[in-house]
């Protein structure tokens, strides 16, 4: 540790670290716009500039290594004036759109303009007339609001390994775009929405389905039902000022009813259903020499990724649909039959932490009789928006429970929200299917946590099963390349597109607060620790569904409703 002087105070710093991290540790807030934790500093926005004695110009603290005895002023008039001018320059190119913008009240540019006391339009001039790109099913790009911080480009390239977007042109004509500046829908974008999370302004947002859902709710001819993903209930509270890591599933269910949904279902139920099908599929592949390693298929970003970049692995993907789609299928068949509702009247909505789910819902394979099984997908953010719109007070609502026949869930299904959760749930049931017994200790610690690639070997009867868990597509590339190069000791691989799992999905609250994500993960683990039913195959509602309707896993009906197929995609990668 070395000592440096900041604002006439001595603070400690680690040798070789950048000045910005030393400042943050000492509780000194210096604004940033282009900074990304754990990635090499870009030095583009210049917001973090500070005065360092001996340096002629202002210095970007994100890219300046600490030096013993250096003297720093973080908020000198010169530094503050520079920051204010930079914000004024950004505002000069920015649409005067705050009141109409999706990020109104939750925008980094807006916040900084407020903090720095910008009070007049000093620099008026030409604004760029870029058109909005609404071609994608999941993500809307509004380049007019882009401040060219580069975070979306970096997360798409350096974290996800997709690189669907990059900077085009140069200077003040520079903008972010896809190859040949085409619509996002014909690019290699996998719809994961990580770019939306890191964007400091309203330049990136999800395709909104709010209007679709509100219209359906107001239509007396429509019977609107909703399902909610495991991640949502442990995250929603954050949108209303509560601390991360609080599970408000019961309150959320009440809120959904108050919004007008006739039935509230739990996607964790169909996660259990997915496990039944998938574990059976895995057992069958192992027994009959099917393609291994098998890979999970619940993450639509991952599926599109394989179809584009690794089509040679399409055969490895499980043919199971995702929990969202499985539930969508049984709602418009089993539930409709049982309740004697015409499936055409049903409007099926899902609440997801994910933007790619909007794309998944529109895939041609996910239609039945020409109609999508899932009619609309709302992100966690969109649900929060609707709750605010309707003036619901989450602190005042009483908790409620989900509806039969799709309300009960095991904790294994709930674990789906975190990286490693699908694998844990699947191994628990695979163990049962192959040995007839339940695991003594169902918690598999090796598969939990934030590491990008986690592996374990587990003994199931006579078999030595190699299991790997990956989150973040950049990490998926590493594993797939290794398998292409000849690695063959794995049986089953879980891949989640978003680093950390669905709890860090593209539809979650803006920003990349790792502490919040950690809290969400721990909330899911606490549920698994505390609740009694911990195996998917012990879910009574699932058992009944098989008994009443599907028969058994991998039956013909199951295949027809709950399984799907994939094909290579012709996109410019």
């Amino acid at each position: 540790m070395i000592t440096i002087e900041v604002n006439n105070r001595r603070i400690e710093a680690k040798r070789g670290e950048m000045l910005l991290s030393a400042l943050r540790r000492a509780g000194i807030t210096v604004p940033t716009l282009c900074h990304m934790e754990h990635l090499f500093p870009s030095g583009a926005c210049r917001m973090c500039v500070v005065e360092v004695e001996g340096q002629r110009n202002l210095v970007p603290s994100c890219a300046f290594p600490v030096v013993e005895g250096m003297k720093v002023q973080t908020h000198s008039p010169r530094a503050v004036r520079a920051r204010k001018t930079i914000i004024e320059l950004l505002l000069a190119s920015h649409p005067d759109d705050c009141l109409y913008c999706v990020r109104n009240g939750n925008c980094q540019l807006q916040t900084l303009a407020g903090e720095l006391g910008v009070r007049e339009r000093s620099y008026t001039g030409e604004k760029n007339n870029y058109k909005i790109d609404t071609s994608s099913a999941s993500i809307v790009r509004d380049p007019a609001k882009c401040i060219l911080c580069g975070r979306c480009v970096r997360v798409c390239e350096e974290v996800q390994g997709v690189s669907a977007i990059d900077f085009i042109n140069r200077g003040s004509r520079a903008r972010v775009g896809t190859a040949f500046d085409q619509g996002l829908n014909v690019s290699s974008c996998v719809n994961c929405g990580q770019c939306v999370l890191v964007c400091p302004t309203g330049a990136l947002r999800e395709q909104s389905h709010i209007k679709k859902v509100l219209d359906a709710l107001a239509d007396p001819n429509r019977y609107v039902v909703v399902q909610h993903a495991p991640s949502v209930s442990v995250t929603l509270a954050e949108e209303f000022g509560m601390k991360p890591g609080v599970d408000i599933c019961g309150v959320m269910t009440s809120a959904l009813r108050a919004l007008g949904f006739r039935r509230v279902f739990d996607t964790a139920f169909s996660a259990d259903l997915t496990i039944m099908e998938e574990a059976s599929e895995l057992a069958a592949r192992i027994a009959h020499g099917g393609i291994l390693p098998m890979m999970t298929s619940c993450s639509p970003g991952w599926i599109k990724f394989v179809e584009e970049f690794y089509p040679d692995f399409i055969g490895n993907l499980s043919t199971c649909k995702s929990p969202q789609q499985m539930l969508g299928a049984v709602i418009k068949s089993y539930f409709a039959e049982r309740e004697k509702i015409d499936p055409a009247r049903l409007f099926s909505v899902s609440i997801m932490p994910c933007t790619a789910k909007k794309f998944e819902a529109e895939r041609p394979e996910m239609l039945a009789h020409g109609e999508p099984d899932i009619d609309a997908v709302l992100t966690t953010r969109e649900l929060a928006q609707m709750i605010r719109m309707k003036g619901l007070d989450l602190h005042a609502l009483p908790p409620d429970t989900a509806d039969t026949p799709f309300g009960r869930r095991s904790t294994a299904g709930k674990l789906f929200g975190a990286s490693g959760g699908v694998m844990e749930a699947a191994l628990r049931t695979a163990y049962y299917l192959l040995t007839g017994k339940d695991m003594e200790n169902p918690k598999i610690q090796a598969l939990r946590g934030f590491q990008g690639i986690k592996e374990t070997r587990i003994r199931i009867g006579e078999l030595d099963i190699g299991a790997a868990v990956v989150s973040g597509l950049g990490n998926a590339r590493k594993l797939l390349d290794a398998i292409r190069a000849g690695r063959n000791d794995l049986h089953f691989i879980e891949v989640m597109t978003c680093p950390g799992g669905c709890i860090a999905g593209g539809g979650q609250p803006y920003g990349t607060d790792l502490d919040a994500v950690r809290e969400r993960m721990q909330a899911l683990h606490r549920i698994d620790r505390d609740e009694p039913v911990r195996f998917s195959h012990r879910n009574e509602d699932v058992e009944r569904l098989y008994a009443d309707f599907l028969g058994k896993p991998l039956s013909e009906k199951s295949h027809h409703l709950l399984h799907t197929r994939y094909a290579p995609r012709e996109v410019v990668v």
């Binding site: 042109n169 775009g177 190859a179």
Partner: protein, 162 residues
């Protein structure tokens, strides 16, 4: 007309090239075809194992690369300091008026394309224009028409007679 197959011989020259071969490859392909077509860029991406968005991003950064074919005669007008001080703005205006196109465009008959260049390094001869590599020094708006007509004559001469 360029075909996709035309890119292969160039790529073979850079068989062991990494990312640092990208710009030389783009330059060689443009040298051959006169511009960078979509197909060429996709093939280059496949060869170098680079995302096409990155290649497009690199190509659009630099002045040199064109994405549309040039005219038979490509006119570059120098807008460096010395040329500016000696009146190149008027020369550019004259070119635009004579050809009825803006810099970056090609005439409808494909005979001429126009480009503005930051500085060609022939400052002692300002104002300078360059047509297909041939330099013309001390150009004035009056001379522009004559210079263009000379080349127009060449276009007519070389035109195939059906």
């Amino acid at each position: 007309m360029s075909t996709v197959a035309d890119v292969e011989p160039i790529l073979k020259q850079f068989a062991n090239g990494g990312r640092d071969a990208l710009i030389p490859i783009l330059q060689a392909v443009q040298e051959r075809h006169g511009y960078l077509s979509r197909e060429a860029i996709v093939q280059i991406g496949r060869h170098l194992k680079l995302p096409v968005s990155k290649i497009y991003g690199v190509a659009t950064f630099y002045n040199q690369f064109r994405f549309q074919p040039q005219g038979t005669f490509h006119i570059q007008v120098c807008r460096g300091t010395a040329c500016h001080v000696k009146g190149s703005a008027a020369v550019l205006r004259a070119c635009r008026q004579a050809l009825k196109i803006e810099p970056g465009q090609t005439t409808k008959d494909g005979a001429f394309s126009l480009e503005v260049v930051a500085c060609m390094g022939a400052c002692g001869l300002a104002p300078v224009i360059n047509v297909n590599g041939e330099f013309h020094a001390a150009v004035t708006p009056d001379k522009v028409k004559a210079i263009i007509n000379t080349y127009r004559g060449k276009v007519a001469q070389d035109a195939p007679t059906h």
